[in-house]
Symmetry: C2
């Protein structure tokens, strides 16, 4: 049995090594049109920034080491340019010289990845993209030779932000251009505000809600007419599955533009499999197809396709798309769907915002974070989560991603036994706390109002009560709110105006106790979810 693999990085090489372990005598040939194999794409921005100084550490293998260890026939600078499905051969072109030859396969695995999208704009040739080690080398050379002082990064996604940060670390003045009104589309607006602040705090100039229109020799032009100095222009406006080869071969391409595969990674040709960024995955929540260009899934699929080829029973479940990014001193992580997407899809959901500390406040070094949980109030299903903060953000999202994968309901989060000592968490971990809040919502022990529902509620006649201390109120409050500190509420009930009340505190916690008290004493009160902090982030970002 002979397997041919196209693409020698995350998906392709994981498939090759696994297949070798499953079958020590199988014939395995891997084609890679680039110069390098098995490299850490995800480390590239940090190599550009000098954080990962040793370029060699990004190269996990060479064709030689892969031959020695795994008896793999890995051919670099060899592009597969066509697939003849009827004859089960691929046509290979050597990048140096252009010589072509055919290679027969019993099974073919495509893992060609995804290519940075490059719009057709005047002067765009000068713009750089970052995908391969060769690309990174280009950055390094340019930084050394031309000593650029200004950079414009176009695109506020994960790679765009990582690149912006790393160019900043190299001493460049960095501007970031993003068509949307916010960076990091996976975050909802009130959660992204902290990211905008963090970027600006480090001197990254944000140009949101506008597009690149032209690349000039030492600047770029934006749709809003502005000119930005740009010794360096980086394009990071998303990636597109590399489907040229597959399409030309007549394989089915899915609705999102990726190669269509079943849950064993098989394409529409039963001898051909495909994995990684090039393929469409199944979204865990909707069951529809989705593009999820992430390394975890590419690696998982690579191993799985080897099992499939070796005849082992396999099956890939729907994906959540858990992702994380470091932005200066902030960590941002997400899993599942965000509110924008739920709303657009017309799904029933409820949101919760909290602002817990990474660990017990009395133990040194606790860092603040903001959490958002989305769940279905009908059945308690967890739909998504977002976290922004410092230490412990990754942990909470991983726990939530695990809970989602396992089908725990949102209220069951209260029962998780998460490791607690003061340096690591609180006796009620932030994830437990989410479970408590959900429990209150599901059992009608609490009603909440979201920051974006506030205006309408006030217009409809509700009074806003700030239950924080007078000092907190003085330091900033929601316009029109009455200050009545929680600890005085019981004694001063008669000062409250008639009608509906909306209570708020700093993060929602005192507001919860106040709301419970008021409702118990026959007032109609709701708690502002996430408190002043969420409201403030949502309404003052810009």
């Amino acid at each position: 049995m002979k397997t041919v693999i196209v693409g020698a990085v995350a998906g392709g090489m994981s498939a090759a090594t696994r297949l070798r372990r499953l079958d020590p005598t199988a014939q395995i040939v891997v084609f890679e049109r680039g110069e390098h194999v098995s490299y850490a794409n995800c480390g590239l921005p940090y190599h550009v920034g000098g954080v990962i100084a040793d370029r060699g550490s990004l190269l996990l293998h060479t064709p030689d080491s892969l031959r020695a260890r795994f008896d793999l026939d890995v051919r670099v600078r060899a592009e597969v340019v066509a697939v003849d499905r009827a004859r089960q051969v691929v046509l290979v072109r050597e990048v140096a010289g252009g010589a072509e030859y055919e290679e027969r396969y019993d099974r073919l695995v495509l893992s060609p990845g995804a290519a940075p999208f490059v719009p057709d704009l005047p002067g765009i040739e000068r713009a750089m993209t970052l995908r391969s080690v060769t690309d990174a080398d280009r950055f390094t050379a340019l930084l050394a030779e031309r000593q650029p002082r200004t950079a414009v990064v176009v695109g506020g996604g994960f790679i765009g932000l990582e690149t912006a940060e790393n160019l900043h670390l190299r001493g460049l003045a960095v501007s970031l251009v993003e068509l949307d009104r916010q960076v990091l589309a996976p975050l909802d607006p009130e959660m992204v505000a902290a990211v905008h602040t963090e970027l600006r705090r480090h001197g990254v100039a944000l140009h949101l809600g506008t597009a690149l229109t032209k690349v000039l020799p030492d600047a770029v032009e934006l749709a809003d007419g502005r000119l930005l100095a740009a010794d360096l222009v980086v394009l990071a406006i998303g990636v597109r599955p590399e489907v040229g080869l597959a399409r030309a071969a007549g394989l089915t391409i899915g609705p999102r533009g990726g190669i269509a595969v079943d849950d064993t990674m098989r394409t529409s040709d039963r001898h051909i499999y495909a994995v990684g960024d090039a393929v469409e995955k199944t979204d865990r929540l909707s069951g529809e197809t989705a593009l999820i260009p992430l390394a975890n899934t590419a690696n998982r699929q690579g191993r799985l396709v080897a099992d499939a080829i070796a005849g082992r029973p396999v099956h890939l479940d729907g994906r959540l798309g858990t992702a994380i990014v470091q932005i200066f001193d902030l960590t941002v992580a997400v899993t599942g769907w965000n509110e924008k997407r739920l709303r657009a899809a017309g799904r029933t959901y409820q949101a919760i915002h909290t602002h817990p500390a990474s660990h017990a406040g009395y133990y040194p070094g606790a860092e603040p974070m903001s959490l958002k949980l989305l769940f279905d109030p009908g059945n308690g299903r967890i739909l998504g989560a977002q976290a922004v903060g410092g230490a412990g953000v990754d942990k909470r999202i991983d726990v939530l991603a695990t809970a989602m994968r396992a089908g725990l309901t949102a209220d069951e989060l209260a029962d998780l036994e998460l490791a607690y000592a003061p340096a690591f968490s609180s006796a009620k971990d932030p994830v437990n706390m989410l479970g408590y809040i959900v429990d209150n919502l599901l059992t009608d022990a609490q009603r909440t109002v979201q920051w974006h529902e506030l205006d309408a509620a006030v217009t409809a006649g509700a009074t806003l009560i700030d239950v924080r201390t007078a000092a907190e109120h003085a330091a900033g409050h929601i316009p029109g709110s009455l200050n009545l500190p929680l600890d005085e509420l019981r004694a001063r009930m008669d000062e409250l105006p008639a009608g509906d009340l909306i209570v708020y505190c700093q993060v929602g916690q005192r507001g919860h106790t106040a709301t419970a008290l008021l409702n118990g004493l026959n007032r109609r009160a709701a708690n502002l979810d996430g408190g002043y902090r969420t409201w403030h982030a949502a309404t003052t970002d810009g």
Copy 2:
């Protein structure tokens, strides 16, 4: 409805505040025989050590603040000394003065906690224990007034180790005495070795496998005859549920010596509930009762009992007992059962050891950790996990505890989508990797040998093959092993002796590839689980 609560800290006070939110007009009286309420027991060792300098930060509430915020009637220095179940009254004794009075209840909640065990030994009066703020104050005073230079901590559990570390931070020369051959009973021996090393590295003198027999005025005497200088003696040899009150009242005490409760926290008297360290929990794995004196569970039960009293449907599931402790630069965390316990209970299990990095090795700051997973090879059920290392230990145990709670099987860990960027994890997170290894074991794609099975296997005729490099082999290897580096294995197959082979590398990963190759080429090979590192830890600790 009037609820009386005994004990005003984790369980008791969580019950009181929750009950107040559920019923703003209920009458709630809380008795606390100590001076303080709602304090962070878990921070006490760090206050003793000066890490948490501000004593006030440990006191989350006072009776006054609890009255203002929650309208609670909290009486300190008031001990409940008897319960008259027939009349539904408790007898209260004021610590100052000894005056006694009765207080009627509709519902009674006991959350008296657990007391440090104090053995009856000569001179034991001088030994100190650490449970309350008052105890911590005693430490602080003694440290200031007597300027002790030597301390003996008896007991190598969580609190003992935290206390030892913190006294070390105060500049004392600390000895630790532990009856068992190891500290931290929840860890298996090969996992605890690193903890012993860490303690010794910081100058803590370990006296394992021996007991305290006598406390002298400035020293202690051990069972092995040794005398240890001890200006300060600390007892931390475990806690016993405070069941005096419950027992005298005729409530059922369970087989482990805790108050027996059902899954709504109800005792054998339907008007009396009990929570926290004083009660027996249900072990999630065996369904039997267990003592789990941890704050997460005490807090959870406190909230839950309030719900039960308020008539809300509640039910507490079996517990895993997830726990964590910081020991100098090491973090140790556990969940579920360990191997010792599984073996003693005669359960079927299989163990896996790995030694992953906290995040991608090429990104700065990655720290090593050791993971151990225990699972049932029959049904894939996860039975327990242990982690020792630095950054990311808490995260992996929390993910595993979540997976266990949710009933994921061990091989399903491979499918978790855990947040990956180089600063946080690897494309295959250490938890995913455990899933892969389990998958190999469950599907017979891999056979492993444990460190403690090695001698028997070699005696039975197996040859040990070290597949690491010659340099690694030279730096230390298992006696009697043949060095044949993985990358040369294929070419030098004919050098291998006949018969069974046991392969090992540094951590098990190259060994896995070597084993797969050998088995595929019709040799009978097994991989040493955890590699040289686990073997070395297990065999050289002492």
